[in-house]
């Protein structure tokens, strides 16, 4: 069978699309791509639409090749990928809602992001009045003594909005179905026509906990499109910001998982470590969550010698404090009893859905966008990608614990080798006679974030698509919870910690 590269070579690669190639393919080749995804030769990185086009980003694990394939949509129709490859289903439902494209053969034609509250097809050629309100039909679960538990969109805790429909047999969950879209803000429509600067601000608010990852993914894609060279110091400091974000989120998650097993002391102490990271971020970069610190062309603020010392002191303190907590986690049988063997995600499913981040790596999928396709400065840094195969809550906690150690080491390396020089490229949005396109894949704390952007000739954003890792992780939570007890759902959910806002856009 032809490799991804062969396919690109045999089709007309689109000019001015960087750094990966984009090829316009026939409907037949598009369908063959679905076969490749189905057989596991390729992994799906993203699927999105424009009024007359469907685009798909894929990677070939064997060759590490990445590419974007596009198929023309005659009469707004294209062959469904989801008909063969389940991870595409929700993305295609979103394409129907937002662009008005019809995936031919898609089995699940229920709306996804569109709840009948806004004009239909906001990204399509024309908007239509909202769909008539109809009750959403959840998938059936049949059998004796089954009962349903509806949860959300307003939850009991301080969490994002989403609806979970459990069907349970006594205490055991036989089916969980998610209904999402409550946090849909129309971000991609707001980005269309926006300046690159404003689009970066919006990208940084797709999912607040991953603001660095999204701002970085958008910036890398825009810079690739425009051929902007980012100064080395900014490249390295961006990685520093990304690792601080990873640390803060991992500390928060490790504590929160333990809290959902009613083990409050871990939560209290992890929250303290998280707070130390955020305060250092505030001191060194002027924002606790590091919003708007990564900007197209570089970064917003340089660090001083004093900041570097504060960061090293932070790393030293975390190295001292965190092992004590890991020991508590590892040596508390009552806690381990809750996390070990709970919410198992099989390696086969993680592979099929190309699950990123700790979810994939806890189920044997060795993938990290920092290494493949990889981006600077990680090619110059030493780090390991922890992978285990158990796939349970405990495994997802341990991957996070291991990644904390890696991030601490990365921060030290970055500070040690930090190049000098400016932190911002010159003018970036110069006019051009042509539209230009760029794509980037960045490893956020939760997994790989995809950004694709087309910059119009005038220098503004014409179309941008941002794909949160949660798109491929949410469906797996439905699989992982099956056969577990209802009371373990919070634990499983927290160990996944998918983003609602990032998914809903």
């Amino acid at each position: 069978m032809a490799s991804l590269n062969d396919l690109i070579v045999s089709n007309a690669a689109v000019e001015r699309h960087r750094p990966w190639p984009r090829a316009v393919v026939s409907r037949k080749s598009w369908q063959q791509a679905a076969d490749r995804l189905h057989s596991g030769e390729w992994s799906l990185l993203g699927l999105w639409g424009e009024p007359d086009w469907a685009h798909m980003a894929v990677t070939e694990p064997e060759t590490h090749a990445c590419a974007v394939l596009s198929v023309a949509c005659e009469a707004s129709r294209f062959p469904s990928i989801g008909a063969l490859h389940a991870p595409a289903i929700r993305l295609e439902r979103a394409m129907r809602d937002l662009v008005g494209l019809e995936p031919e053969g898609l089995a699940d034609a229920r709306p996804w992001l569109d709840h009948g509250k806004w004009e239909r097809h906001p990204l399509g050629p024309a908007r239509h009045s909202p769909a008539a309100l109809r009750a959403y039909s959840f998938l059936a679960a049949e059998g004796e003594s089954l009962h349903q538990i509806p949860v959300g969109p307003v939850h009991a805790g301080i969490i994002e909005p989403g609806h979970f429909r459990f069907t349970a047999n006594g205490e055991t969950v036989v089916r969980l179905e998610e209904r999402l879209g409550y946090a849909h803000k129309g971000t991609e429509s707001l980005m269309a026509g926006a300046s690159i600067g404003r689009a970066a601000v919006l990208a940084g608010r797709v999912s607040g906990d991953s603001t660095v990852a999204f701002a970085l993914a958008f910036s890398l894609a825009a810079e690739a499109a425009l051929g902007v060279e980012v100064p080395p110091r900014a490249v390295w400091l961006r990685a520093l910001l990304a690792e601080l974000e990873r640390l803060a989120n991992h500390f928060g998650d490790i504590g929160a998982v333990c809290n959902d097993a009613a083990f409050a002391i871990m939560h209290a102490h992890c929250a303290l470590l998280r707070e130390q990271v955020l305060r250092t971020a505030e001191t060194c970069f002027g924002h606790r969550l590091l919003m708007d610190r990564v900007i197209p062309g570089g970064i917003q603020r340089d660090i001083t010698a004093e900041s570097a010392r504060a960061l090293l002191a932070l790393v030293a303190n975390l190295r001292k404090r965190f092992p004590e907590l890991v020991e508590v986690y590892d040596n508390t049988p009552s806690l381990k009893d809750r996390t070990v063997g709970t919410g198992i995600l099989s390696p086969a499913l993680a592979q099929r859905f190309a699950a990123g981040g700790f979810i994939g790596r806890a189920s044997g999928r060795n993938f990290d966008a920092r290494r493949t396709p990889g981006y600077a400065p990680y090619d110059r840094l030493q780090f390991e990608i922890p992978v285990v195969r158990a796939g349970d809550v405990n495994a997802r906690v341990w991957i996070r614990i291991s990644e904390v150690g890696q991030s601490l080491a990365l921060i030290e390396q970055i500070l040690d080798q930090l190049p000098s020089g400016s932190i911002l490229a010159g003018a970036i949005a110069e006019r051009s006679p042509h539209g230009r396109e760029g794509v980037a894949l960045v490893e956020g704390f939760r997994g790989d974030v995809l950004a694709w952007v087309r910059i119009a000739a005038g220098g503004s954003v014409e179309r941008c698509h941002l794909r949160d890792p949660s798109w491929f992780q949410w469906p797996l939570l439905e699989a992982a919870i099956e056969g577990n007890i209802v009371a373990d759902f919070p634990l499983c959910n927290k160990s996944f910690n998918c983003s609602y806002s990032g998914h809903d856009l």
């Binding site: 849909h184 803000k185 906990d209 929250a271 040596n331």
Partner: protein
């Protein structure tokens, strides 16, 4: 673990002194708090947080209020799981149209007297999402708002300052 517990016993509390009640918040609240509600509440308020489509940044900082350094509960403020137990709705996000009905229903489920605090720049006027086809554009477009705490997101200290102003207002003697 024994080591950790022992250390916690001897090191003294990590909780930090509170910030002063936010002046701007006090001014905004002065007009809205009446004597009747003061009598009913005393100094304790139950808060129900509602994410009306935020990016989750505000939630992260609201979570931080519960950590040992800010320790919200020492002020008589605590988060509850149901709007039926709540005095205050703490609302984040630009109020997406997909969340509008859920927010309205949550408000209706909250017994009177009740307060609505809009947290973050999005909750004030839609923030960076203002003008979107999918957003109502701020909490006040949907519910009467008693207090705005600005910021993107507001820091835990700013959140504390605003909430302390609320406690001050509802517990002050006389009107």
């Amino acid at each position: 673990m024994r080591k950790l517990l022992f250390k916690s016993l001897v090191q003294g509390p990590l909780t930090e002194p509170p910030p002063a009640a936010d002046e701007a918040a006090l001014a905004e609240l002065a007009a809205r708090v009446n004597q009747a509600s003061r009598k009913r509440w005393g100094r304790t308020l139950s808060i129900r947080e509602v994410d009306a489509g935020s990016c989750n940044g505000c939630e992260l900082e609201i979570h931080a209020l519960n950590n040992m350094l800010y320790d919200l509960e020492r002020f008589g403020l605590r988060f509850v799981a149901s709007p039926r137990h709540a005095d205050v709705l703490l609302v984040t996000g630009p109020v997406t149209l997909n969340m509008r009905e859920a927010l309205e229903r949550t408000y209706q489920a909250t017994p009177e007297p009740r307060w609505v605090v809009a947290v973050g720049d999005c909750a004030r006027d839609g923030g960076v999402f203002a003008g979107s086809y999918a957003c109502a554009g701020g909490v006040s477009a949907v519910l009467p708002v008693d207090l705005h705490i600005p910021g993107c997101p507001p820091s835990p200290t700013a959140l504390l300052g605003g909430l302390l102003a609320l406690v001050e207002s509802v517990s002050a003697e006389g009107s």
